[in-house]
Structure formats: structure tokens, C-alpha cells
Subunit: 200 residues, 3 copies
Amino acid sequence: MSLIKFIEILAILVGAFSGFIEARSKKMDVVGVFTVAFITAFGGGTLRDILLDKRPLFWVTHQEYAILIFVLALIAAPLIRTLRKIVSERLIVIADAFGLGLFSIAGVSEALTAGMPLFIASMMGVITGIFGGVLRDIVCNEIPMVLRDGRPYAICSFAGCWIYLVMQKAGVPLDLALWSGVLAITALRLLTWFRNIRLE
Amino acid sequence: MSLIKFIEILAILVGAFSGFIEARSKKMDVVGVFTVAFITAFGGGTLRDILLDKRPLFWVTHQEYAILIFVLALIAAPLIRTLRKIVSERLIVIADAFGLGLFSIAGVSEALTAGMPLFIASMMGVITGIFGGVLRDIVCNEIPMVLRDGRPYAICSFAGCWIYLVMQKAGVPLDLALWSGVLAITALRLLTWFRNIRLE
Amino acid sequence: MSLIKFIEILAILVGAFSGFIEARSKKMDVVGVFTVAFITAFGGGTLRDILLDKRPLFWVTHQEYAILIFVLALIAAPLIRTLRKIVSERLIVIADAFGLGLFSIAGVSEALTAGMPLFIASMMGVITGIFGGVLRDIVCNEIPMVLRDGRPYAICSFAGCWIYLVMQKAGVPLDLALWSGVLAITALRLLTWFRNIRLE
């Protein structure tokens, strides 16, 4: 299994897992747990593809991800308890930062391919990175955390998308530009998280 | 008028009626009552068609349904009072269960026609069946009831979709497969409702 | 710059500004302020285009609007304070009424061009006019104001859309029909606002 594939699955699992936690904390039943996890994992990419009018959707052609989340949702309650013992909060933050980087750069790259202008492409990157969590919070009847808690999250995504866009326009090899963007977002997110930097 | 047409209209009316009740209980004005009823009746099918990229939408080619809900919204307050006297809660539950079955099987059948893999097709069936109510609750600022109250609803839809899918793949005549799915969902929903069975 | 262009930009700015105010009152950070402003300004038109399956979206081909809202979001806090001193509430209401008229008639006109039946076209006009505000309120975890406060808003849009549709079908010159619709909505909205007329 390639590294990209591994990170991708990790990112989807982290998204689903954050959905499990929020849905359980709202005392949802198993249907709610699956729905919220699914929306968190795939909401951002789905919204981007709808805005770009791109079909088929990612999870439609890769039904194994939907099935995986379905199976995990059935065992969400013991799963959350077990994972909380094994996995430290630090690891979750790192995986989530990686996921933000990967999803964002995948988003901006898709948007460029679809011929979007630069600023819109960067917005599509951010939408892909953050909107799963926004939709999760709307379904759970909360003001979306990413819009209110002042921790840099969307902004890290935005900055990394521009690093990718500038490198790409400057003629840097595609692979280098992609990975620079992903790693910049991950690093920025981790730096601001562990330094506890906040926006106004 | 054919039986299918009759059940279809009944399902839409039941959806709209549940929208009327929730919008009125939130003290919405006539615009809110129409909007919430419309979203409840057509939200699931519309989301499915957007995900499948299928156009035109059902209610766009059948504007008579939109007009009907519009007229009913104008008289929603006295309508709710009258219907509450005439129609027992039992009848509403039965009509709603029928609606869930019909919408779900229509959804899974559309998704199969569009070439979706099996698990995704079953999810599209559930989305068509339940997302009208989910959107209604989001607009009314509630955590969607179907995701939290533990009564089997989406699960009945899911089970019935698989009954249809298995029969269809096994070469059973299409009509029989369709109606088996619809009736299985309706029966499961009524059984779990009247026995008061709950999920975790 | 043509008059239409000027009113269009004004309408988008008014939408964005109402997003700024609501996002700040929810203590959102700069990302939230931008997101909510963007959704308010473009949400209605975007939903309409998704329902009609029309691409590219307006803001995708006109990225200057997205950039403008982005820059304004960065200075939202001092901007709101300054504008509140310079701009009276009366002027905001007038600009908003103009915006409602312009967006609504643009929406109904697009829908007619796409071959929608009349009632659906009028609904598309209303959706374009009001759904930005509905989505703003959903993201901010409020019951959408336009659905509950009883002030005629969607109804003014609906009435004006029909004035346009009737004039258009009666063979009135297109420009005259368009502006009659826009001005009727603006006038109706201002009349009901300043007379403080309420629906049930």
C-alpha cells in the first residue's frame, strides 16, 4: 500500500472518529453515529465536487470506505473507549493535521484541474479541508467549531494551498509542489496547536 | 389514478404535514411553514438527485406538488386543527411508514439505474427516505430526530433496501422485488413502532 | 460602471455585511466572519444554480467578489464600527430591499431561461433572494429569521416574481418587465417594513 493511500485512509478514519465522538456525546443512536461520521469524513469533498459539478463522487466509486465506516459505527461505543486508552490526544491532533493537509491540497489540485481561477481554487482547498467538520457541527446543532474557536485551522489550510499554487505556477515539479503544500499545512497546524496560538 | 400514484401523493402529503406541524410549533410564519413543509417532502429526493447529478428534479417537472403544498401552507393552521380531529396518530404513523418504504425503494432503484455499487445504492435509498426529515429538523434548529431518538427508522429503510437489492440480483421479477422492499420497510417500521422497540 | 452592476455589487456587499454582523455577534473568528459573509452573499444564487445544474457558479467566474469579501472580513471589526456611525439603519434596509429585488428577479429570469415551469421559476426567484440569509442563520445556529419573524420578505419577492412572469408572458418588453419586478419587490418590502406590517 502506498504512503498516500495510507494517509488518505488515516484522514478519513480521523474524520469518522471525530464524528463518532460528537455523535455519541449528543446521545445519538447507531444511525446518527454512522450518518455524522460519514458526513464528517466525506462532507468537504462532496461539497467541493457538487460546486465543481464533478461526478461520480469519491465515496460512490470507493464504496469500501462507506462500508468501513458503517462497520465501525456498529461498534462505535466500545471503539471510542478502547481508542481513548491506546491513542493519545497528541496522535489524534497529528493525524488530523495530516488529514487537513492532504484533503486541502487534493481539493485545490482538483479545482485547478477543473479550470478554476486561483483564489477560487484556494477556497475549494479550504472547503475540502474543513467543511466535513462544519457539516458535522450543523447536524449536531452546534455553531461550527472551526468558525468560532479562534484556533488557526482554515487559515493553515489557506496558507498551504497558496504555497502549492505559487510553486505550481513557478514551474516546480508537481510532486514537490503537492507535498510542500501538504507538509506546510500539517506543520503550521501543529505549530499553532502546540504553541496555543489564537486568532482574534 | 394508479395505486402507486396515490401512495406517492400520500407520502408527500405526510411529509408536508409533518413539516407544517414542526414549523407551527416553532411559531414560524406562513413563509416558514411552506418552506419547511416543502423541504420535508422533497429534501431527501432532491439531495439524492444532486448526489447522482440527475436533472431535472422531481418537483421541477411536477410543479403541481409544489403548488399543492403552497395552497395547504396558506391554510396550515386550521388544517392542522381539523386533521388532528379527523386523523388519528395511528393513521399518520401508518402513512408515514408507507411513505418511508416508497421513498426508500424509489431511491435505491434510481441509484441502481444510475450505476451505483450496491452499498451506495442502499445508502441512496436511506437518504431518499430520511433526509427530508433531517433537513426539516436542521432548519428548525433541532438535532435531527431520526439520528437520536433510537426508534428504528433509517434501519428499517436500510433492511428493506437490501431485500430489494438481493431479490433484484437473484433475478426476481422487478415488480415483485420493488413491492417486497416497500412492504418490508412499512411492516418493519410499524412492527418496531407498535412494539416500542428501541436501538441503543 | 452600469447601474445594474452597481446595484449588484451593493446587494452582495449588503449580504456580506449582514453576515459580518451576525458572525461577530456570535463571537466568531476571522475565518467564521469570512465564511458566514460569503455564504450570505452567494448562498441563494449558489443553491439555485445547483438545483438548476448550471455551472460555472457566479462567484467562480467572478473571483473578484470573493477576494473583496475576504479583504473586508480581515477588517470586519473596525469596518462594522465605522459603518454603523456613517450608515443609518434606514439606508441598510433600503439597500437590502434593492438587493432582494435584484437577486429575486435575476433568479426567476435564470430559471425561465433554463425552461422551468412558471411556479417553479417563481420559487427559484424567492430561493435566490432569501436563501443566503437562511444558510447564514443555520450556520450561526439560529432558526432562520426570514421563516419566523412574520415580516413580509419572501412574500414580497414572490409577488414581484409573478409581476415579472405575467408581464413577460403578456409580451411586455423584457427590460420593462425586469425592472418592474425589481422595483415592485423593493417598494413592497419598504412599504411593509416602514408600515410595520406583519403576517400571522
